[in-house]
Symmetry: D2
């Protein structure tokens, strides 16, 4: 069973620009993270975009949906900025594809020593193998159905709507 | 849903002894790892032993089994050395407790920068929430039933017996 | 011989703001770095400001100079943003205090795994012990006199003016 | 001014053997450390041996001495295990070469997240540029002349003999 991984950017993949002195997007860290986790599950990675999720448009979400639809794999992990992760989850969830799709991200860029990224990636790759068809958000050890999750922006955590 | 975590030692928790210049066991790194992963799932941690799994005796395995049996939680993660992880899984599996139990560990100590420990912990805490009753070994993104896993010692990887 | 360390901020001490999703200043990392380096030289740390060196004013530089002048220690390390490090070095150099003063910083925040900060701190604490009175900039293994250093902004490196 | 770096092994360069589950020597980490420190000083690295300094023989020390003698560079850093660093320093010191030689190492392997190695390397490369001819031991921010240093094995620190 091969898992498809789509990269869209987000905090997860922010790098530090030494010359400009600020965070920016360069390359994804996913290959390095899979190597560190010594991941033994077959994974196919494709970068769809490298953007801050606050800048993600309807067209971008449509592109993500089309890629999920046309992927031959039935199990898909999407790395995504946390700010609008639940919005993309909704677009994918309403499409009711016959697939298991898990969105994940990080509160702190992977390039920081203190990142939760590796933990979340291990979590997302596991939930996607074990869960039934549907669209989910997996962050910080928890997993939410797409229609039952909201980001608490003050605390920086994901919560059930109920 | 609270997850019970039992610590038994293994590579996962080896530390570097600065004075003696060798690896040894001191304290578990699990709390630091849960903090790094910003884990939002309620977790109760208990250290049962801190040993190399090559030194684990039948009595030690019996102790682990008794703790799994008497735990009020139905979902349990056990950190364990990789060398005899499948043996402990067998003891637990044959007991057929009405619980979901996931054993995990690391190929490289968490204290090393290059450890797979955080990835594996995120993975184990996810599989334990999503899988049906049974005993499993979760390492490096894969999850095996207790009666279908063997450690390939030359390659240092876990494989299906089939 | 006690070394005085003055903290002024800069890339060195930038942290990641999880809620806001951007770099900011919180606390200095200097104590953690001294602990990691297992520093055995007596050091007295004082935070003068926590700012980006692009925002440093003449009044800020005057404050740094006054603190260098009134310190009882004859050997002083100053952590500083790289963008205007040479300007502060000039202000201190022209004051011709009877002290050895070394400015240092980092191209990448210490909180990033890929930071040069620990290397630079070890370097600055060593140059300050070994060099004669004067004001110096120590970055990335090199040490420049205050009147012979310029930052090459395209390459992000410090160079001799000659 | 090019600095010659001789590698001899020691805690500094110990790696973790995933298959065997123990510390061993593989390759030196020095190039990675110089890259992390964004070192701008010209450095020529040569590995003389990769051993635990407890196993270092008189013949090994003679080899180190001959390499110091025949090197075209006048400034030399030697990475070395801490257990017998002061013995090698004595052999080199008594040879009274017209060079500046600094021995350094680490209390914790560089491959561990908690290593003092990068701090010590930054320190040694700085002392070697700034100090007069002679042989020195630079550890944890301090620098000792070869005939005035002893390792306190209980505390794991280097001290002046006086």
């Amino acid at each position: 069973m091969t898992i498809r991984v789509f990269i869209t950017g987000g905090t997860f993949d922010k790098s530090y620009d030494e010359i400009g002195g600020r965070l920016h997007f360069k390359d994804t860290h996913i290959q390095e993270m899979l190597r560190l986790g010594r991941c033994r599950v077959p994974v196919e990675v494709r970068t769809l975009m490298m953007i801050d999720s606050l800048e993600m448009t309807d067209a971008d979400r449509e592109l993500i949906l089309q890629n999920c639809r046309s992927a031959v794999e039935e199990r898909i992990v999407i790395t995504h900025g946390t700010d609008t992760m639940t919005e993309t989850a909704r677009v994918l969830g309403e499409a009711r594809l016959p697939k298991t799709i898990v969105l994940t991200g990080a509160m702190v860029p992977y390039a920081f020593g203190s990142s939760d990224g590796l933990f979340n990636l291990g979590s997302a790759l596991s939930f996607v193998q074990a869960l039934a068809r549907g669209v989910y958000v997996a962050m910080n050890g928890r997993c939410f159905a797409w229609d039952d999750v909201v980001k608490n922006r003050e605390l920086g955590v994901f919560e059930s709507r109920r």
